[in-house]
């Protein structure tokens, strides 16, 4: 699992503008595997992405929907993406602001599907 996960994360980081990708435990926000550029705070990304995903999952359930399969937080200086990877795992990516968001979205959904 770890080698395969590492391979999947490295594929995601090959997209120009992706500064790091992590596999994160949804319950406790801990890192399972990571492929990060220097300067990206992995534990912070993992904890924050898991917390936000959990909160938004409660909101979508209030709407009678399942938990989100993809989350995209866009900011002026970059973005955070998080995809449900199955078995309580999240596939998270941190990107620059000018990344191809459509490509990251498809790549994460594809990678999350392979990890499920």
């Amino acid at each position: 699992m770890t080698n395969f996960a590492q391979q999947v994360l490295e594929e995601v980081t090959r997209i120009p503008g992706v500064r790091g990708a992590l596999l994160v435990s949804e319950d406790d926000g801990l890192i399972v595997a990571e492929a990060l550029m220097e300067g990206v705070d992995g534990p912070a990304v993992a904890a924050l992405a898991a917390s936000l995903t959990g909160r938004l999952g409660r909101a979508t359930r209030a709407l009678g929907k399942a938990a989100p399969v993809l989350l995209h937080l866009q900011a002026t200086g970059g973005a955070v993406f998080s995809a449900a990877g199955g078995e309580g795992l999240l596939l998270v990516a941190v990107t620059a602001a000018d990344v191809n968001a459509g490509l990251v979205r498809l790549s994460l959904l594809d990678a999350a599907g392979r990890l499920s």
Binding site: V40, A44, S51, L63, A67, L71, L73, A97
Partner: protein, 256 residues
Amino acid sequence: MSDDIQTWSAQLASDPGSLVFLPLAEALRRRGQLDAALAVAQGGVSRYPELADAHDLLGRIRSDRGDTALAQEAWTNALRLQPDLVGAHKGLGYLCYRAGDLQKSLRHLESAMELVPDDSQAQAALQRVRGLLAQPLRPAVGDPFEGGEAGTLLVDSQGRRLGGVMLRSDGTDASDAMAAELSGVSREARRTVRLLGLGEWHSLYLETPGMNLVMQEPRSETLLVLARGPEVPVGRLPLLADRATTLARRWMDKLG
């Protein structure tokens, strides 16, 4: 629930002609396993094309997947087979509401109420549609809560609804429950991007099976949520959200 699904799956595997496909597909739908639910329901409809409940079930699954036209077709088939099927009237009432056809929505919801007068879901949906029909026509421009097919909601920092409405796929009102759960989301989004050195957040997109949501912060500590079916292209959501956010700011300015 998981045990039930396993039991029903085993029953269906050993006896493909069993009507157990009905509770099995419904349980899968409720768990959000919409592809699996659809496969089971389609198998059931193929085997029992004259069974109205099977078409009704297919309508619910199609609706959850955002396949509006196919859901409408399934519920229409259900009513052709059994004109007094409450679920199909409620489903079509909701679809017509989403499409903005309030008169047709009203007719279906009234039919549902005649059949089951104490159905609280249908009653709430009927009251909402009657309320909308009673309102004078307003120009769409300038109102951030107009034009939402599935919902537009504005929430304050304490989890209270400021405006708009958010409906579940069965037509019940999820506005207050959503507002409560969304309390603090804008704060958490701000904290996340600040700690990661990403500047200021401006949009949060969520994709769920059958529905996509986009959130923005028209004013500090308020959250605007737009929910749209998957038939709305992902790239159009930010444009819709930008427009709604601008209108929401003006709307709040008018409130003072």
